[in-house]
Symmetry: C2
């Protein structure tokens, strides 16, 4: 697919399209109109047509979209048509929960969990080995790890992020409640849970409830 | 504070301002210029001035911002100047991790964790009791719970969300990978982890790396 300028807002909606199309595909539906997709997704049909037009030529007036084709193309755009290798740094509650999460089916394969507690050395979570932090650099290089999930205490995150950047990690999925300063070619995607809770509390605060 | 139309983009940035201002306050700094704040936050000073102007009269040319005042005002806007009561539905790995998370310091107090597994009845996580699902409605009403955190399997989420809406919950913090259909007066804030990972993989996919 040739390159186009696609707005961030559209990109943000793509995983949702991908999820819905996957469900529709699982239900054995081969073609769908923007109107039907609109009903399921609670997005207007015109928004859907506009979004999908960004990628060109998926829909045919009167025939609707070929579900499988659209699903595959969006998968390619999102880069989930291939498997990404991932490690989790921090084997605490959160790291443990994420290790138990079945991200494989979405194209993300967790290869190891790193921790500093010697008592965790040699254990495993869902078959994924827990390794010690002094093995980090070698493992990342040898296994060609693309993504590191950061679930460690705020005070240690920056040091670990630096180590990961130095050994060639391409992306950090950051659950620590701070913003990382990394080179431009390293992708950082933050999951700031407290920020999300604050958005929620803003929306329930009485001054804003009549919006 | 009187009501104003504040854009969603600004609201999304407020938790971040709140976090930085809290850190600055902890460091004993009383006044800060937009330029200094800009250096810390990696946002342009003009963006900061523009954002904070939305709330009117916080900054004084040449004097900078009063950190404590700004922190408190943003806290009020976000609704975190009071404590919100919260329950977690689902005592699995994820619910467990969230129960262990210290959201209290940000104004969110977890009162109970609900599960269906009888063996968890009467146990507790960080002093928070695990209760059974048949106690849900009574507890939500009696304790005036505002927020329910949904960390249960996708197949059960809709049924539980319906029950919560019926007993007067005001907000759902949804970790299940589906979009909930609830009345307009119930706030839903989604943390769709797979969507976040897909944003990340989009950004590292080679076709987009030169952006």
């Amino acid at each position: 697919m040739e390159e186009r300028e696609i707005s961030k807002a559209v990109i943000k909606r793509l995983p949702r399209y991908y999820r819905y199309l996957g469900e529709i595909l699982n239900n054995g539906i081969e073609r769908i109109s923007s109107g039907e997709l609109s009903g399921k997704m609670q997005v207007t049909a015109s928004q859907i047509r506009q979004d999908l037009n960004n990628f060109g030529g998926f829909g045919q007036q009167g025939y609707g979209y070929n579900v499988k084709y659209l699903y595959d193309e969006i998968g390619k755009i999102l880069g989930v048509n291939r498997v990404h290798s991932m490690i989790i740094i921090g084997g605490g509650n959160f790291g443990h929960a994420l290790a138990n999460y079945d991200f494989e089916k979405n194209g993300f394969s967790t290869k190891a969990i790193f921790d500093i507690r010697p008592e965790l050395n040699g254990t495993s979570i869902r078959g994924i080995p827990v390794m010690m932090m002094d093995e980090l650099e070698e493992f990342v290089k040898k296994e060609d790890i693309e993504i590191a999930v950061l679930t460690l205490p705020k005070s240690k995150v920056e040091e670990v992020a630096d180590r990961l950047v130095k050994c060639g990690i391409r992306a950090l999925w950051n659950f620590a409640h701070l913003d990382l300063d990394v080179p431009d070619d390293v992708v950082v995607e933050n999951v700031h849970l407290v920020d999300s809770l604050m958005q929620l509390s803003y929306r329930i605060s009485e001054d804003n409830s009549e919006e």
